[in-house]
Structure formats: C-alpha cells, structure tokens
Amino acid sequence: MTCPHARELMAAYWQRELTVEDTAVLRRHLETCPECSAEMTALGGLWERLADLPAPEPSHTLDARWRQTIGILTSAQPARRIWWPRSPVWGVALAAACLVIGVIAGMNVPRQNPEIAKLREEISSTREMVALSLLEQQSATERLRGVSYSGRLDNMEPDVLTALTRAVAHDPSVNVRLAAIDALTKASGRPEVLQSLTQSLPAQESPMVQAAVIDYLVEARDHQAVTALRQLAAQPDLNPAVLDRARFAVSQLSR
C-alpha cells in the first residue's frame, strides 16, 4: 500500500467509515511506516479533540423571522383546488345538481339586505387601502405585511395590482419582491401583470427573484415572454441555476 492511499484510509477510519478488512490493511501499513504511524497518532488525537468544541446556538430572532416569512408565504398561497369528478359525464351531472340546488335555495332565502352588501364593499375597500398604505412604508417588514394583506383580497383592483407589480420591479428587499410575486399568483391570467413582470426581468439582480418571475411566467403559460426569456438566457454573467430555468421556460413556452 502507498502512503497516499493510507492517508485516505486514515480519514475514513476517523469518520468510522472503514471496513474491518481495510482497517487490517491500514494497521499493517502503519506497522511498517513510521511517518504514517506518527500522523495517525497526532492527527487522530486532534480529530477527537475537535468534538470538544462547543456547538454554537442560533438566537430566538431566527425562529421569529422564519415564522413571519412562512406565515406570509402560506397566507399568500392560492386556495387549494376543490374536488371535482374526472369523468366529464359526472362533472356535468354534478354541475346540474348544484345549479338546481342553488336555484331552489335562492328562491327560498330572503334577499340580502343592501346595507350589508354596502358594508361588505366598504370593508373590502378599507382592506385595499390598508394594503396599499402598507406597501408604501419605509420598513420592509411593513411592506411584507402589505403584500400579505393584498394576497388576502378577494378581488385585486388595478391599483393593488399596480402596487404589487411595482414592488416586484423596484422594491429594495428581495423578500418583498418574492412575496409580491407569490401574491400575484391570484392574478396570473391578467395580461398587464404578465407584461409588467416580463419587463422587470432584465433589471432583476437577485437570482431568486429572476427564478421566481420565470416560474410565474411558465405557470401562466405566457408565450409572449419567450423573447425576454431568450434575452435573459443570453446574459453572460447569469447565475447557472437561473440559466437552466430560463432555458427550461423557453422550451416550455415555445411549444
């Protein structure tokens, strides 16, 4: 056995990955090679002492940040799909049954009080104002809250969509940009949103945001984004992971 091979076996021995057979081979080499034997003793001892170094612990701030982030991301997620039969025949039958039940129920339920409808409209409008106001704040945390609020709105009005697409394009915080992209999932079919996100691509510096915008455009099946994606893929210093995503997106959207 050569000394370089013995050194590999020593490293495996320290890590407790050496087989019984290889341990015997290593022992035989150490008996005949004083240099390797000395290294085994000195470095093996140091390897054991490394285990005595205390394990550092993260602060509670990390947990708090994580809870906030995952809270925002999960609340911005679109609702899960409801169950629906795969067979078209059963689908039509179920739809017809729902329609009949709805008509009968509608005829028997008293008409909604117009004041309640107005109140609902006002609450929705207030939520929208709160979301827009938060999106204008200096603090990134407040802007994240604004994005979260926006994601919860039943109907995204054009000014909310504008504020979110502006956040994707210009917000200094990567986390706000990412959360805004997730919140915009509700409006993925809107041409103005797709156009704005596509236009923001060349100026995005964060690979994470670039990847998120690409994924968004693929999920929305935005075929018009192919040119912009090809231009992005041609950038010389593009992150390799983003390059892969961009190429994948072009192949998907060019079909």
Binding site: L9, W14, A55, P58
Partner: protein, 193 residues
C-alpha cells in the same frame, strides 16, 4: 448512507414542491440548527450565520419546483440543501466583500470586544487555540472539515455536495487535518513563547 431524518425531509420537501408550504416548518425544525452551525463555523459571525440560514429556507421554497429534478440526478435532500447553502454563502461572501471593505477594522474590533457565548466557552476549556486554528484554516479546507467533522456527513454525501469522488474528499480531509495541526502547533508555540 441515508439517515431517517433525511428520508422524511425528502418526503416533506416533495410535499412542499407540490404546493404544501406548511411542510417546510418541520424541515426548518430539523435543519435550522445544523445549518446555523455550518454557517457559524465558516463565517464566525452570529448575525451573518442567522441571515444565511433564513436565506437557505427562503431559497428552498423558491426553488421547490426543481427539487425532484435535481435530487433524481444528484442524490439526497441533504446534498440538495447543502448545495443551496454553499451557493447562499458564496453570494453573501461576494456582497460582503463589497460592503465591508471600508468597515473591516470596525467589524474586527466589535468581534474582539464582544465575545459570543461560544467564544467564552471555548476559552474556558482551553479550546480557544483549536478554535483559532480552525478559523485560520483556508476556506476550502475549513469547509470540507466542517462538513465531515461537525455536520457528521458521510464522505460520499460530501462528494455529492462538492461535486467530487468520496476518495477525493478523504484526501482533502487528511490535508485539512495536517494543515490544522500545523497551525495549531504554531499557535501553541506563540502562546508559550
């Protein structure tokens, strides 16, 4: 070698990739401490290590769609997570070099006047020299040693993370230990002189 936590986190990550973001909480619980220790031992800075841990989990969510494609070709959840961690560290190091060129002296003085609990414990047990030696090890050697000795990863797993054969990893670990020993020995002589 695939441990049970890695196997279950693999299932959880597949659920995240399918859209169940809440499954990320269990992955966070299992992984945030080892990841923090990995970053802390490589950077020596508490705040930076915590920022990087947060960044890794955000990236895992961001790149969730690529999970199955990547793990099918290159191994386990563990390897995927540490590759994201290494990329996050490399990006941070680039930014940090740009941001801290002027303030490097200030950072050093803050570190020396405000020791972390980790520093204090290490000094109490006369392990400070070993800790200093580890900090002085070149980055690539420190990384392979941290992955093997502190993160308890098998050599074939480390090979998947670093993109090389497990035999190469063993050779690198040996050389890292040899250099660590030399630095430690020099520091011991300085102390006694």
């Amino acid at each position: 070698m695939i441990n049970p936590v890695s196997a279950s986190d693999h299932d959880r990550m597949r659920a995240v990739a399918r859209g169940d973001l809440a499954s990320m909480n269990a992955i966070y619980e299992n992984r945030h401490r080892p990841l923090f220790r990995f970053f802390f031992r490589l950077t020596g800075r508490q705040a930076m290590a915590e920022d990087l841990v947060h960044e890794v989990f955000v990236r895992m969510i961001r790149y969730r769609h690529t999970y199955q494609i990547e793990t099918a070709s290159a191994g386990t959840f563990e390897a995927w997570m540490y590759r994201i961690a290494r990329n996050a560290l490399a990006d941070s190091a680039r930014r940090h070099r740009l941001e801290t060129t002027a303030a490097e002296g200030e950072l050093e003085s803050i570190e020396s006047t405000r020791p972390t609990p980790f520093d204090a414990a290490a000094k109490r047990q006369d392990l400070a020299l070993l800790y200093r030696a580890l900090r002085q090890l070149p980055e690539d050697k420190r990384e392979v040693l941290v992955l093997a000795r502190f993160q308890n990863l098998a050599y074939d797993e480390i090979g998947r993370i670093l993109g090389c054969e497990s035999g190469t990893v063993k050779g690198r670990v040996f050389r890292a230990m040899k250099e660590l020993s030399a630095i430690y020995s020099d520091l011991s002589k300085e102390k006694t002189a």
